[in-house]
């Protein structure tokens, strides 16, 4: 009796283990597949200039919007502006709507594909929705390039 009971317990343990392993393997498989196309590297304009990434790779580009570089095309929906990190500057073209926080002289992060032969075509301009006005990556990039200006309100960065 004790033996069969223990045996039963073992088979049931085995089922449980089998189910858990299946689900775990499934999850790992999913994670690896899903990860392929949805990672984007963050670059600043200097990184972009130095990089040897090939056309079509998705990246995020961040920096400050250059003062007086912003203008709108005839259609009213296509925007052009320059992004700088103090050393290098990249021309960006974006068709779509801009987030509320977008301003010249402010930090911005755009997402798009590498285009080694011309301007950076952004597919998305990211809106940050927390109380830090400046995207964190941009602050780090500016500090690295030595052009970050500290102000009084610096907190929680």
């Amino acid at each position: 009796m004790a033996n069969t009971r223990a045996g039963k317990r073992k088979t049931k343990r085995f089922y449980l283990l089998l189910t858990s392993m299946t689900i775990l393997l499934l999850a790992v498989g999913l994670v690896l597949t899903a990860l392929q196309d949805s990672i984007s590297l963050f670059l600043d304009p200097s990184d972009l200039a130095e990089s040897n990434l090939s056309d079509g790779q998705r990246v995020r580009l961040g920096g400050l919007v250059v003062e007086e570089s912003f203008f709108k095309d005839e259609d009213g929906l296509t925007y052009r502006f320059d992004i700088t990190d103090g050393n290098e500057t990249v021309k960006v073209i974006y068709k779509g709507s801009l987030p509320d926080l977008f301003r010249e002289g402010q930090g911005v992060v755009v997402e798009g594909e590498i285009n080694n032969s011309g301007p950076f075509f952004a597919t998305e301009v990211l809106a940050k929705h927390d109380e830090n006005y400046m995207p964190k990556e941009v602050i780090e990039s500016l500090k690295k390039r030595g052009v970050f200006q500290y102000s009084d309100g610096e907190e929680n960065i």
Binding site: A27, A34, I39, L101, N132, E140, G153, I157
Partner: protein, 651 residues
């Protein structure tokens, strides 16, 4: 003076938590009754003093006392009163104080409602609760003092981010925290039980209401945040898989798993160690979530360089709480005797599958959230993991979950009859499949995944209804009587599952059939979207309390009749100077029409950039969550969960 009293009260609360955390616990371990009796009064006292501290900070915000650093940084005299009050928790220090307040509130609630608990467990639970509190008080006093003074002080504050000046977001943090912190009670119960070395059906019955309460608040809090993002950010999206959102979603997933595994402990006296582990993980995720959102420390490894003090404290605290409880778990888990066996086809095994899927899903979300951090630390690459990752990996795991969710309640405990379930629910499954395909073509076809989600939503809805109808024998005599006599817990379960079904349909509708148009519109221009004719009438200038705005007027016609006039605004706040958009939304059961006005396209100000969205079934998403939370509260009112209610014999 009042501010200093607040500071002083906080120190007193901190001291009381130290007393409550150590002496009664020592008393319980050595059998000294007098020390154990310290538990309740210190819990009440702690709550009293931390309330005073919180009140003092709120007072400073209400009277705009800019000699307090925190107020000067986050408030402004011109702000409406509601946002002066909500600014109290709209910043790092204040939000941690709110956390401590809610923690003490739960501590006092356990002290009060748990009086009938076995004395030693009661004392241990309260001591653990106090020790967590101690960590938060020390964090506040040593690294994030909300009462710090400023001299010389400014005449005016620098204001609160206008995006946060919104009723939805004013109440989002308190609700979310009631959820996060509610899980601390479950955690304390789990650790208490580990020290006692005993987990039984009664324990599960004591823990479930607290978990359920936390789950209800967490669900409501997350959804309020999502709803805010939907109408305030003006992008027509409601979930972005942002680390901040994931931070609140991970504890939710684990809490949901915990809610279900505790039922197995209660009914079948098994899965004990697993349930304890879930309780520990759920609270660990809440702590992680709080710190991800509030301090920004965990979103970037470099944050340690700018604020090493806080970072080190947080890391040490997380390490102590999570590591300590896991160590205790490793040492004591074998003391928890495993209960009965269970068959592969039974309600408990369905609940196990639910638990596996939910916890794996939580791990997937955690991986996606923390992977960029890991990669940054290891290689220095800065990467982001985008929504496609989560949609694919997380979404895929939800498909079997929703399938099993329809089956589970119809399976009986111990050993269910698979053939019986299939023959009964097969028809329901086939019907929902046909209905999904019919809807799919009605909505104009589209991606195949859209049909899958539609089908799953309908399946869950139908299966939930079928199980309920079967349980109350809807078509037999005296059905009304049986409907009324259903235990509240099972009524709550039906509502909870039904709510999720409705929400899934809403998600599918708005994600797969949503349409969007961006146009430059001149006065009098007309656009057709989602079956509505939208006519741009004109714009007006508006002056608000701390902003100026342009307000557009759009007449919405359906079949030639005006059904609504939408007035979206583009606001410009003065302190801090920042523009925001206020979307205007026309909601019906069928979908939301969502209009955002941007900036003028010309110097004569009669052409404007306008964005229009049509989101089918969007209201179902919000409505579904309301039904879910409603179900949670119904379940909470079940007699069985009242502390001290006569112990029922477990079958």
């Amino acid at each position: 003076m009042i501010v200093e009293s607040g500071h002083y009260a906080l120190i007193l609360a901190c001291t009381l938590s130290l007393v409550q955390g150590i002496f009664p616990l020592y008393g319980a371990l050595t059998g000294r009754g007098r020390l154990m009796r310290l538990s309740a009064p210190t819990a009440y006292g702690q709550f009293f003093f931390v309330s005073i501290a919180f009140g003092a900070l709120m007072y400073a915000f209400i009277v705009s006392d800019f000699s307090v650093v925190n107020v000067a940084k986050n408030s402004h005299t011109l702000k409406p009163m509601l946002y002066k009050v909500s600014a109290t928790w709209g910043n790092h220090e204040g939000s941690i104080l709110l956390w401590a307040l809610i923690l003490a509130l739960y501590g006092a609630a356990v002290a009060f409602f748990g009086r009938k608990l076995p004395k030693t467990l009661y004392v241990k639970v309260l001591s653990i609760q106090a020790l967590i509190g101690l960590g938060f008080y020390l964090f506040l006093l040593l690294t994030s003092n909300p009462f710090e003074r400023l001299y010389p002080f400014p005449m005016e504050g620098s204001g609160l981010n206008p995006l946060l000046q919104d009723p939805g977001l004013a109440f989002h943090p308190p609700l979310l925290y009631l959820g996060y912190v509610g899980l601390s009670v479950t955690f304390s119960f789990a650790v208490g039980a580990l020290i006692e070395g005993r987990v039984d059906a009664a324990w599960a019955r004591w823990v479930r209401p607290w978990t359920l309460l936390a789950w209800c608040f967490l669900t409501a809090g997350i959804t309020l945040g999502s709803w805010w993002a939907y109408y305030e950010l003006g992008w027509g999206g409601w979930w972005f898989w942002d680390p901040v959102e994931n931070a609140s979603f991970m504890p939710w997933l684990v809490a949901t798993a915990l809610l279900h595994s505790a039922i197995v402990v209660e009914k079948r006296d098994t899965l004990k160690a697993w349930t304890i582990l879930l309780a520990i993980i759920a609270f660990s995720f809440s702590l992680l979530g709080t710190f991800i959102v509030r301090s920004g420390v965990l979103t970037s490894v470099h944050a340690f360089a700018t604020d090493p003090e806080r970072g080190v404290f947080i890391l040490a605290f997380l390490f102590l709480v999570i590591g300590g409880s896991l160590l205790l778990f490793a040492l004591r888990a074998d003391k928890l005797q495993a209960g009965g066996l269970f068959a592969p086809i039974s309600r408990e095994s369905m609940l196990v599958i639910n638990n596996l899927l939910l916890s794996v899903a939580a791990m997937v979300v955690m991986f996606g959230t923390l992977y960029p951090l890991l990669r940054d630390a290891l290689t220095g690459d800065k990467i982001t993991v985008g929504p496609p990752f989560f949609n694919l990996a997380f979404g895929f795991l939800m498909i079997p979950l929703l399938l099993v969710m329809g089956l589970g309640p119809s399976a009986s405990w111990k050993r269910a009859d698979l053939a019986g379930i299939v023959s009964r629910l097969g028809f329901v499954f086939a019907t929902s499949l046909v209905a999904a395909l019919a809807f799919f073509y009605m909505l104009g076809g589209g991606e195949i995944m859209a049909a899958v989600w539609l089908g799953l939503g309908l399946w869950l809805m139908a299966a939930t209804f079928y199980e309920w109808a079967d349980r109350v024998k809807l078509f037999k005599v005296n059905a009304m009587k049986r409907i009324r006599r259903q235990p509240r817990a099972s009524v709550g379960m039906s509502f909870g599952h039904l709510g999720l079904a409705i929400a899934v349909l809403g998600m599918a509708g708005s994600s797969y059939w949503g349409t969007e148009q961006q146009k430059i519109m001149a006065y009098g221009d007309e656009i057709n979207i989602g079956g509505y004719d939208v006519n741009f009438r004109d714009t007006n200038g508006i002056i608000g309390p701390n902003y100026t705005a342009v307000r557009g007027a759009f007449d919405i016609r359906k079949n030639g009749k005006i059904v609504a006039t939408l007035e979206p605004e583009a606001r410009l706040f003065s302190t801090p100077p920042m523009p925001t958009t206020e979307a205007a939304i026309y909601s019906t059961l069928m979908g939301d029409l969502f209009i955002v006005i941007g900036e003028a396209n010309n110097k004569t100000y009669d052409q404007w950039a306008v964005r229009l969205y049509y989101k089918p079934l969007q209201t179902w998403l919000w409505g579904g969550v309301v039904v879910m939370v409603f179900g949670g509260f119904i379940s909470l009112s079940d007699r069985r969960f009242r502390m001290g209610a006569a112990k029922k014999k477990i079958n």
